[in-house]
Amino acid sequence: MRTGTTRSVRQRLLSTVAGFGALALAACLLAPVVGSTRISLARVFDRSVPFAENVDAQIFFVARLPRTLAGAVVGASLAASGVVLQALLRNPLASPFTLGVSAGAALGAMLALTLAVPVAIGGVTAVPIASFAGALGAVVIVYLLATVRHRGLSTEVLLLAGVTLNAFFSALILFVQYFADPAETFRTVRWLMGDLDVSSYEPIVASLPFLATAFAVFAWLPRPLNLLALGPESAASRGVNVHAAQRAAFFSASVATGAAVSVGGPVGFMGIVVPHLVRLLVGADHRLVLPASALFGAAFLVACDVVARTALAPLELPVGVITALIGGPFFLWLLVRRR
């Protein structure tokens, strides 16, 4: 338990961002260098060798760097979305996937894989586009259900609708899978595990406008989210526009999750493990928890991906396997710890 924290919020914010920022930076700088094949940084940046003949540069720029960047972007987004949704639902065990976003994304991705949709926009293939569309579809359905018979947003309906939609979309996925051939099924299962093997920068770049918008909203959210922890009525009586804050939280977290999933698939447990570890370190204040979780999420997923690439080399595991192996037991420990 933290005691005697008399330092001002500003000081704590600065030291938190500096500490977790350094961690994220270190992870992103080290990850592309580490791997099953040793590469020499001198050769990577050696301009005298043409790129087509420079294997080290190819490994660095084509295989590892996009993967690292994808890990940073996806990890930061899922962890931050987890923080926002836990605060919105006033439930520390909620995750970015609780509200049906991942199932919607999975349905979209699977349809694109199964139907072998040839569409591509600006170098981005059909799967990320379809998964993002599926995520947004799920978000809209859940939102409409939670607002149709309520003034404002009913977080209870939000939770129930999300859980139900997850189950229903999973049923649809199984239904379509039943008729798919084994190769398609394998690719869908692989996608569902969460994998950062993007092999290009396009999906990352394409996700950035959405993530930038979501993170701009995230910058405004921490104070209303703190007040919401007291309960919507207490927050309202302290001057918080509760409905506006809830809507902003729901849509920003959903868009960030959808964009992250379109890049890396539904990488599990990021949105639970990271926020909780961060809370153990910095306390409950969302002004610290949100930026710290984003930075630590980036570092954590990049590090997990290094493990996924190297643990069984030359085999490359999907990173979702690693995060689940760490996250599952951690989640159970959390449940038991919460009396």
Partner: protein
């Protein structure tokens, strides 16, 4: 000062309040009494501006609550709910600092003056020694007092030269609304909270409205009562005139003896009808 005129409100098709009128004078300590489901909490929400009446209007110094920006209102009017369950582990000082919300811009971090205000509010409710404790580890009475401190922190203004005025002299015009403050508390904490509420009214000049179904608690602190039944006000006035056996029977359908208790120094209500009789 704070007035509900002929207000009605309902959830779905059922009306919870049917044309209730309440006048809360500056510096008064008003108890709203009534059985479960009589509309007490709803009336409090309308007075707080967190719900809007379907008919009638609520005014603060003559201005319709709808026309007062929520942050401006929050600097003058604070609400203490029956119970507060936190989803995350905030410290007691964090909770008190949340009262500073209506004084800070969207990206503004609270400064040393806000911390001073928050700590003074904790001091006023006797919770300053608990400032670094986690809220979830407090007893029911301590929680209630910490939440009252958070409400008090909403009032103090820093704009006069920037110094943190704790408003110890009392600033008339600030209103505290409490919903069943003792419902979840045992006898010891009930008295603790009752004493605090009376002090805040007497020493700080806070205007206080308390919703309760605890007749003796209301009799011990309130100078005026509003009796609510089925969404209507059936009586209102000074406690001594309003708390009568006839009214208790009208509210709860129970025969009761109401008499002045010398040692306690206030009216007490003892139900006399035996169960099953």
């Amino acid at each position: 000062m704070l007035e509900a005129a002929d207000v009605s409100f309902g959830y779905g098709d059922t009306l919870v309040l049917r044309g209730a009128s309440v006048h809360v004078a500056r510096g008064s300590l008003v108890g709203v009494l009534g059985p479960n489901g009589s509309g007490k909490t709803t009336l409090l929400r309308l007075l707080a501006g967190t719900e809007r009446p379907l008919a009638g209007r609520v005014t603060l110094d003559g201005a319709d609550l709808r026309t007062i920006p929520r942050r401006a209102l929050a600097r003058r009017l604070a609400v203490v709910p029956q119970e507060t369950h936190l989803a995350f582990d905030y410290t007691v000082l964090d909770i008190a600092l949340m009262g500073r919300y209506p004084h800070l811009g969207p990206f503004e971090l609270e400064g040393p003056d806000d911390v001073t205000v928050a700590r003074k509010a904790l001091e006023a409710t006797g919770t300053l020694p608990l400032e670094h404790r986690l809220f979830t580890t407090l007893s029911g009475g301590e929680k209630q007092r910490a939440i009252i401190a958070s409400a008090l922190a909403q009032f103090a203004r820093l704009d006069d030269g920037g110094d943190a005025r704790g408003q110890d002299g009392g600033t008339p015009g600030e209103i505290l609304l409490l919903d069943e403050p003792t419902a979840a508390l045992d006898l010891h904490y009930q008295i603790e909270v009752a004493t605090l509420v009376r002090q805040l009214n007497a020493r700080r000049g806070l205007t206080i409205v308390v919703c309760t179904h605890d007749l003796n608690f209301a009799a011990s602190i309130c100078r005026e009562l509003v009796l609510l039944k089925d969404g209507r006000v059936i009586a209102t006035g000074p406690t001594a005139d309003t708390l009568t056996p006839a009214h208790v029977r009208a509210l709860y359908g129970v025969a009761a003896d109401v008499r002045y208790h010398e040692a306690a120094g206030h009216l007490t209500v003892v139900p006399t009808a035996r169960a099953g009789a």
